[in-house]
Symmetry: C2
Subunit: 194 residues, 2 copies
């Protein structure tokens, strides 16, 4: 039953489902897309979509085509509790972004920020599926607001360091950036907000 | 002699100079563009460029085509000294961005963040011409680094609130956002950095 085990059926079926899902998420947003609509678009039985993907979140993350599960952030940040959560989140963030193998697919998603479809993916999908659960797992108040504040710093950091390559941010060692941004991220995650 | 007074010559000359300057700034960056190159591109005498624009910074800001002088930020932030600089900067920022008349030209510039020419304009031009002088005017150490950190939060805020329209950030009243972001901006402007 595990979607991570051996899969019966044509080996391209899973890829066909992901290919069908990607434009639906882009056009309809995360909330407007259903497993049933994806099945219809891919021309397969809805049961087959559920066979490959436990949830719409799993299917969405597969459609992002990044070489890791962004929800690993959740585990790393949440398992240590609120103290030091900002530092752990940033350490994980830089270990992913500073890895050349991840850079290109991540930049492709980041560039989508200015296309209507990419905007919905980032807003409804990435922030809702990845960032809000990270914040909620810390047991703090106002998780949506904290997630939006966190997103506003992380998106700006991505653009400044990796897209615009503004110095001295672009060539700063990650340890220095973790120390620089940790108090800010910690504030957004767990601090008292006005 | 004032470039703000009555201008002799054809009324379209100034516009022709700005039109010639815009792609040069985009292609060559701020540092790679000279008043002389702009004059050659516009087919006018270099003295005429200097007649209309006191400095390359003035010409660059005119080429951005925003309905205000971004350097007003400098005056507002610098005149009160380091204390409360973050709050003043944010109050000015929201008064500009929340004004519908400014929104469209500003968003056009913001969208340029993902085009190579727009990237150079933002990195060499906007950060160098507008943000670094604001920070330097406060008399703090490491103005380039502080400007980059400030840019990383402001650019992310622009994208999250005005482009992606992530809630509850998108509909939050500016006073609440000033209070929320002020400690962060103050840290970047004047705080002790690691």
């Amino acid at each position: 039953m595990s979607p991570r085990g051996r899969r019966p059926g044509a080996p391209d079926t899973r890829a066909a489902i992901v290919d069908a899902a990607r434009p639906l998420f882009a056009d309809l947003g995360f909330s407007g897309t259903s497993m049933r609509k994806v099945a219809a678009e891919a021309g397969v039985d809805p049961a087959l979509v559920h066979h490959y993907f436990d949830s719409k979140e799993d299917l969405f993350l597969a459609s992002l085509d990044v070489p890791f599960d962004p929800r690993m952030l959740l585990a790393v940040v949440a398992e240590g509790g609120p103290d030091g959560a900002g530092e752990r989140l940033l350490t994980t963030f830089f270990s992913i972004w500073d890895d050349e193998a991840n850079r290109l697919p991540l930049l492709t998603i980041a560039r989508g920020v200015l296309e209507p479809g990419g905007q919905r993916l980032l807003r409804d999908g990435f922030i809702g599926v990845v960032i809000v659960p990270v914040v909620s797992a810390l047991g703090v108040d106002q998780p949506e607001r904290r997630a939006a504040l966190l997103a506003s710093q992380i998106i700006g950091l991505v653009l400044t360091r990796y897209v615009l390559e503004v110095e001295p941010l672009a060539s700063a060692p990650p340890e220095l950036l973790v120390a620089t941004y940790a108090p800010v991220v910690q504030r957004y995650l767990t601090g008292d907000l006005p």
